[in-house]
């Protein structure tokens, strides 16, 4: 272990601790400025209401007809007096006390019974669920307040009856919400795991499901408390809640209405108080929801924009002009040996990416998803981009046409040369023209990537007509031909099929047909067969391979599978921690790679027909891309590591044959790795390091 490694390791634990601990919920709520404001207002109101008995207030029920309808700020009556001469300030504070008490009690009752019903129905399922939910549906069949009115009609007007009525009508709301969550949880694998651990249903409900439902109950409660306070006040306003002399805010407002035109403040002040209470509670509720909802917490609900954001001060490679008409590659070493394939060597590249840097800004952290990627693809050539999840292969592919979601993605530098044009500099209009036109995409999961509500024919027609001035009828004919081309049986009928009505294989053929609609020069295929079954994958791969050869279309094919790569790619580029670590002709990479990572990645996968081969696991894990070590990112896991691997920039250089590798101590042909690290110590003894996490990893969908 070298000194540098030891240093990173000793520094690591403190970082981990800092990163592992999630900020507390309260801290998150307080961080939310609006929620903090709400909390402040509510705290003042609640304190005043609690302190009502000890505050120097007049008797709220003491009438003083001589002093009726005193205006605001009159002596002894800060908020004036009402129609019976009662002190408004005192009544307001005492009324607030009543309103808060009734509102919160109703909420708690509704939350308790509603959640209980939801939990039981959701977990028990079957008959119990059916019966309970039909009853809940029945309650929801009544317009909300109408049901409360009916209940009050039966029980008779009164504050407690109003409380019951509001609690009862809110039970379905909790029951439905909680049931939904519980049903989802009950199907989760950890509940199965609990059953396999010998736990009984009640214990599972209590110890496994309940803790996971609790945040939802809190969210639901916090977003409904305000509403319930409003509704109880409303019933009192109608004269169906608090009965004189008892007063809550609603009944004060109702009383004040009678003298609205002469003394408007008498009704406006209690109304304002209700409004303040409800606004503050809603602000807090939103804060709680944002803090507890994991999706909102990670900022995932941000809207991805039309195109990935370009950093204003982005790094532009200052080398030779973009190779468009010259036969040279974008890279100095390119035309010597590296980027060639016999068929394509002399042609100008279609795509020449230089020093592409895409960052993800997550809070205060910047993840360098790609840290300077160089790629060249020539007409008719298929480049396989291989890497593990988090290596940046999908981000590279999606950056080309600006399809990395922003926020959080930002293109921080580089040049995306497409036939002599720098796409990083191109206008949005030009990008839209190229998307689906000269450059098309095929994505991973065809069920998620086709629009669920439109039939597949329409989706292809739409793609055609976005780029060609065809009538609808002509475009439909063309779409049908495309479906025939990708060998979909009964193409005419399938035009009207919705994506969910097709099998996975057929859906992916539709995606391919859509990608071919406007005779693209480059297809970017992001794990297009990963979600498919093997036999289907085989057919789709063959189809894609035949079509691209027939039409001389260039393909950038992203995958994690060397087997798939060898079937379709002419050249391979291997990515690790956001950079290309090795590239070269497919057979050469597969049989005698120069980079130890490539060798290890090939060796750790079982291969058909070689069951006896020992699988050498790659020890450890990739570094987090927001804290890349200096030197080689693979150094910590590499059996050939030397001291010089951990310093300075290691360039991607020509090694032998067609191979270029980012390695100071490359393997010679046929050389095996010694000291393949499958030992126990290196697996378990490595310091725990969080995996690089950024939305790109999710977009790839590599962890189902």
């Amino acid at each position: 272990m070298t000194g540098a490694a030891a240093a990173t390791q000793s520094a690591a634990p403190s970082q981990q601790r800092q990163r592992r601990e999630r900020p507390s919920t309260l801290a998150l709520i307080l961080n939310n400025r609006l929620a903090a404001v709400g909390l402040g207002i509510l705290a003042v109101v609640v304190l005043a209401a609690l302190a009502a008995p000890i505050l120097p207030l007049a008797d709220p029920d003491a009438t003083d007809p001589a002093n009726r309808l005193a205006p605001l700020f009159s002596a002894g009556h800060l908020l004036g007096t009402d129609a019976l001469g009662r002190d408004m300030l005192s009544r307001l504070i005492w009324g607030t006390r009543v309103s808060l008490l009734v509102g919160f009690s109703a909420s708690l009752i509704a939350a308790f019974f509603g959640s209980a019903i939801g939990l039981v129905a959701g977990y028990a399922g079957g008959r119990a669920d059916q019966v309970l939910m039909r009853l809940i549906d029945l309650m929801m069949a009544f317009p909300y307040i109408l049901l409360a009115l009916a209940i009050v009609a039966i029980l008779g007007p009164g504050l407690i009856n109003a409380l019951y009525a509001i609690a009862i009508v809110n039970v379905p709301f909790f029951a439905r919400n909680i049931r939904g969550i519980t049903v989802g949880l009950a199907r989760r694998e950890f509940v199965d795991a609990a059953r396999l651990s010998g736990k009984g249903p009640l214990r599972i409900l209590w110890s496994d499901i309940m803790p996971n439902v609790l945040p939802t109950i809190v969210i639901t409660l916090s977003t409904t408390v305000g509403w319930m306070i409003l509704e109880t006040a409303g019933l009192s306003f109608l004269g169906l809640g608090a009965q004189p002399p008892q007063a809550d805010l609603g009944s004060m407002l109702g009383d004040g209405r009678k003298v609205m035109f002469t003394a408007p403040t008498i009704s406006l002040v209690p109304g304002l108080m209700i409004f303040l209470i409800v606004v503050s509670i809603n602000l807090i509720g939103d804060g709680i929801r944002d803090a507890l909802d994991p999706r909102l917490r990670s900022g995932a609900l941000a809207r991805p924009s039309f195109r990935t954001r370009m950093a204003k001060d982005r790094r532009r490679p200052q080398e030779e002009p973009i190779p468009a008409d010259t036969s040279g590659g974008g890279h100095p070493g390119a035309d010597r040996a590296g980027w060639n394939n016999e068929d394509h060597r002399d042609e100008a590249p279609i795509l020449a990416v230089r020093d592409l840097r895409t960052d993800f800004h997550m809070g205060s952290e910047i993840y360098h998803a790609t840290g300077g990627v160089d790629l060249v693809i020539r007409p008719g050539e298929c480049l396989g981009l291989v890497g593990e999840s988090g290596s940046g292969k999908s981000v590279t592919a999606m950056s080309i046409m600006g399809l990395v979601p922003s926020p959080p993605g930002v293109i921080a530098g580089g040049r995306i040369g497409f036939k002599g044009e720098d796409l990083a500099e191109a206008s949005d209009r030009r990008i839209r023209q190229l998307r689906g036109g000269a450059v098309s995409h095929v994505f991973q999961d065809p069920l998620a990537t086709l629009h669920p509500l439109f039939c597949v024919g329409d989706q292809i027609v739409e793609a055609i007509r976005a780029h060609q001035p065809l009538s609808r009828r002509d475009a439909e004919t063309k779409a049908r031909e495309l479906l025939d081309l990708v060998r979909i049986p009964n193409a005419a009928q399938r035009m009207k099929a919705l994506p969910h009505e097709l099998s996975g294989g057929l859906r992916q053929r539709v995606s391919i047909a859509m990608a071919l609609a406007n005779d693209p020069e480059l297809i970017i295929a992001d794990e297009p067969t990963t979600a498919l079954d093997v036999t289907v994958q085989a057919e789709v791969l063959r189809l894609l391979d035949e079509l691209r050869r027939e039409r001389n279309t260039a393909v950038l094919f992203i995958t994690h599978d060397f087997g798939v790569v060898s079937e379709i790619a002419d050249r391979v580029a291997v990515m690790y921690a956001g950079r290309i670590v090795e590239t070269g002709r497919t057979e050469e990479i597969l049989t005698q790679p120069a980079h130890p990572y490539t060798r290890m990645l090939i060796d750790c996968v079982p291969v058909m027909g070689e069951p006896e081969r020992r699988l050498d696991a790659v020890p450890g894990r990739p570094p987090a891309v927001n804290r890349l070590p200096p030197g080689c990112a693979f150094a910590d896991r590499c059996p050939r590591v030397e001291a010089d691997c951990r310093t300075g920039e290691i360039p991607l250089e020509d090694k032998r044959g067609s191979l270029q590798a980012r390695c100071l101590h490359p393997l010679s042909p046929g050389e095996a790795l010694s000291g393949g690290a499958t030992s126990k110590g290196s697996q378990g003894g490595k310091p725990h390091r969080p995996e690089p996490r950024y939305p790109g990893a999710h977009a790839q969908g590599t962890s189902p």
Partner: protein
């Protein structure tokens, strides 16, 4: 191996979903996920179960550990029929490792709570005994003792899967059903887990049922393999024998379809990969529509799973099996 008495005997096991009638008397659609599977599991072997999505392999696995109850058929464990006794009876001896390691761990429980549960509820162990076993267990799966106090979100996929394996082993089972245990993991991590599984099996004398869609993985771990298609086993044999020369055309298609580095494949075969409608299954061989060797009688009756000319250990459900 064939001489030993089987540890688990599965007989005519079937599972149907849906069915019954609505209140208006119309039939509800019915889907048969597993249709009459019979297979033995011998002490100490690794039985690989291979098939594509929708073949019923996961339903079969869930029935084996009691997470799902069979509609008909038997699961005999050491001669005792446990198919209807539910999870707890089976869980003492048969445990399960899930495909998705992260979602199989309760996000709000520490690793200690997760691993202690089987020891408490299945083995009834006291605190001191549990403590000793936990230490051994966590060491066995190459994790460090301080991980016990952490929560699942702090672990990578590979580590989480090792915790999942530890949870399965905490009940000291005889058989572990592994449902796609490595397919959610990155390739460089897969080997770590596969090697760990191999070592644990040797050290603890376990018997594995290894379910996967990945033929290469199954070939490298399994001693015997059963191929499933459309809810039924279509071929069963010792692993080497099957991969060398399959009998069933579907098995051959699967083997030929697996992507292998440095193997270029032949031209398009025109197979669409379409399965029959599971709500309206064909009377004959469900593979007939895709089969290059199909004859008229294939479409009329389902061929039985039986030994062909390669001896008792190699069975196939095909009227026209492939030659060696």
């Amino acid at each position: 191996m064939s001489a030993a008495a089987p540890l688990i005997e599965i007989r005519e096991l079937a599972r149907t979903f849906g069915g019954g009638r609505t209140i208006f008397g119309t039939k509800k659609p019915q889907l048969t996920a597993v249709r009459g599977v019979s297979i033995d599991l011998v002490q100490g072997e690794t039985l690989g179960i291979v098939g594509e999505s929708g073949c019923g392999k996961s339903t079969l696995a869930r029935m084996l550990v009691g997470l799902d109850r069979p509609t008909s058929g038997e699961i005999r464990l050491s001669g005792e029929d446990l198919s209807a006794s539910g999870t707890k009876a089976l869980a003492r001896r048969v445990q399960y490792v899930f495909q998705d390691p992260v979602s199989s761990l309760n996000p709000r429980q520490t690793i200690r709570e997760i691993l202690e549960a089987p020891m408490r509820h299945l083995l009834g162990l006291g605190r001191a005994e549990r403590e000793a076993r936990l230490a051994k267990l966590i060491d066995d799966v190459n994790l460090r003792p301080e991980f016990l106090e952490r929560y699942p979100h702090e672990f990578s996929g590979g580590q989480a899967q090792r915790i999942g394996i530890a949870r399965a082993l905490a009940a000291e089972p005889d058989v572990v059903v592994l449902d796609e245990p490595v397919s959610a993991l990155d390739v460089s991590v897969q080997a770590q887990v596969l090697n760990l599984l191999d070592r644990l099996k040797r050290e603890r004398g376990l018997t594995y049922v290894f379910i996967s869609h990945d033929l290469a993985v199954v070939e490298s771990v399994a001693t015997r393999v059963a191929v499933m298609y459309f809810g039924a086993v279509v071929e069963e044999a010792l692993a080497r024998a099957m991969f060398r020369a399959p009998l069933h055309p579907y098995t051959k298609l699967l083997i030929d379809s697996a992507p292998v580095p440095n193997r270029k494949r032949e031209r398009l075969a025109g197979d669409t990969g379409e399965l029959p409608d599971p709500y309206d299954p064909p009377p004959g061989c469900p593979f007939a529509a895709r089969c290059p060797r199909v004859e008229a009688d294939c479409r009329e009756a389902m061929p039985p799973l039986e030994a062909k000319e390669r001896g008792e250990g190699h069975r196939a459900a095909c009227f026209y099996p492939l030659a060696a």
